[in-house]
Subunit: 334 residues, 2 copies
């Protein structure tokens, strides 16, 4: 899922987003609650209609942004109290409020509120945040007013295999429509991510979506698919695009490099995106000249790359050749 | 002509530019000479091919940017010596060099180098700059090496009707493929612009294109068409778009205004552009949230508006109803 934080995939108009092959978008509850507020989005027919997207949508609960963006955060069993990163105003986010806001935002999938903590952390703190997330998950389910919005639970437990397994086992006993793995891709490294997923995913039901939140780099996605993850979201395609880092199946390309000064090839020769109708020399010129079109085209390319990557992985699974394709892709990328 | 200063219409991909109805683009010799340099553009097949534009293109000569952007400018009969606004490097721009650069840039239409001076100025200075521009025009024609590039002369003469008429009469005796009116839209106001055009355009041949450089606001364009101008270029559609000023046939709309907070109407109900697939409330939200998509969509709308305006004026001329349509449009806009 491309990330439409504030009901906009940064730099890319919604028809171009669809052209990348994307079928579902994520928007951020924390951001939309602060700007423009969920009432306006509700009055506009929900976040999809608000931004002109006809496909499915998902909103996160705000738990991650409370952890990463908010100021003066105080978390109790009641909920999270914090100050807005925009104007310092006091916000009180409880599981019940996270559900109410998300129902107003009207996405097809809402996420439970979870307690995300920074790592490394003492095991007791990790356990407490995990247990609190479970209790909040139950309260989120109890707070639902709408029958046309799915809700996913979120596994927490840091890098502790036992806590992760306990969290997953408890969550699967609850009537969520899908399950997410949260609290990863926070600097733990690929080995720790892999071992944590190994300890978690087998405990989640195979017949419901399994979603790894906020991940990630192409190789992280490939390895998470190998463990059984079905869904991802990440800002990397657009954020890296804005910074002139272009993903390709031959590895990333840093467009500011003088290597590309006169390079008449497209970013990726078999890519159907409109950025790849241009030469690397032109794309590099746009970045060096500070033209907005550089970030725009690079974002379109990276979003297209991610969709092509996911498409190849899906095809490989259907064809029963996932491990071979995985090895091929990883070898070529590196 | 939308302006593609650095071989990019700011914030709008080239296919979207074509969708606005634009048929010809302008690029800037001064800017492209500094970045990325005309050699790269030449090696890329010319400025149109470089930016992926299949329609006609025009490059200005750099005269206006020397006046408006360059530092430590010294103009003699030889040419203009100045320092780059980017890195202070010394640039020596003669008529011959302006032609050589533009031949490398490879647009369909090149402009002669002209001497633009600030107004108000002493009549002697205005006359000297006008005479120098005529001499430079002759040198530009003599310096041409390519037969597949048109060249336009540029009328100068400030706000002095006699100087303008003299400039136009001299220029039309030279083998230019078209004629431009330069040195206007520099703060002289609509009345002075109108009287200067009245003193100039009748002296230019009707069977060759007459081009008013760097103009302008919708009402300026409408009034210039009334005098006989055929071609325009201006950065206003994209520059105003980036600043949340949206043009409509009911007058401009300043999107940051709280008036539009919950406005479910599109910017302009009969506009076919993709921005007008969204509500004003959504467009306003994008600007207030600082999303790149706001400037992008607003630029697309404004470019579309300008093309629709020109289309209506062309249709009115063909139908023999120009004056009535002009009055209608101006009345509704104000």
């Amino acid at each position: 899922m491309p990330v439409a934080t504030l009901a906009s995939v940064k730099g890319v108009d919604i028809a171009r987003v669809a052209e990348t092959g994307a079928t579902m978008l994520l928007a951020n509850t924390y951001h939309l609650h602060l700007r423009p507020g969920e009432e306006l989005v509700d009055q506009s027919g929900g976040v999809g209609h608000f931004m002109g997207w006809s496909g499915p949508t998902l909103t996160d609960s705000g738990g991650y942004q409370v952890f990463s963006l908010a100021q003066q955060v105080k978390v109790t069993d009641h909920g999270a109290m914090f100050r807005s990163h925009l104007d310092g105003s006091q916000v009180d986010l409880t599981p019940e409020k996270a559900v109410a806001i998300q129902e107003s935002l009207g996405a097809d999938v809402a996420m439970q509120l979870d307690h995300v903590i920074g790592l490394p952390a003492a095991r007791n703190d990790v356990a407490e945040a995990m247990e609190r997330s479970l209790a909040w998950g139950e309260r989120c389910l109890a707070a639902r007013q709408k029958s046309d919005q799915a809700m996913f639970g979120i596994v927490q437990g840091g890098l502790d295999s036992e806590l992760r397994a306990n969290s997953a086992k408890h969550l699967r006993s609850l009537p969520f429509e899908g399950f997410a793995v949260g609290g990863l891709s926070v600097g733990e490294g690929p080995e720790a991510m892999a071992s944590t997923l190994q300890a978690t995913v087998p405990h989640l039901p195979e017949d419901k979506p399994r979603y790894l939140m906020g991940v990630g780099k192409p190789e992280d996605i490939i390895n998470a698919v190998a463990v059984g993850i079905d869904m991802f979201d990440c800002v990397l395609p657009t954020r890296c695009g804005r910074n002139a880092l272009l993903y390709t199946f031959d590895g990333p390309l840093r467009l500011r490099n003088a290597l590309y000064l006169k390079d008449k090839r497209p970013i990726e020769s078999d890519c159907p995106c409109m950025a790849c109708g241009h030469t690397r020399a032109y794309m590099r010129h746009l970045f060096l000249a500070g033209e907005m079109l550089g970030p725009i085209l690079a974002s379109i390319h990276n979003l297209t790359f991610y969709q092509r990557l996911m498409g190849r992985l899906r095809e490989a699974i259907v064809a029963g050749q996932f491990q071979a394709v995985r090895a091929d892709i990883l070898a070529r990328m590196n």
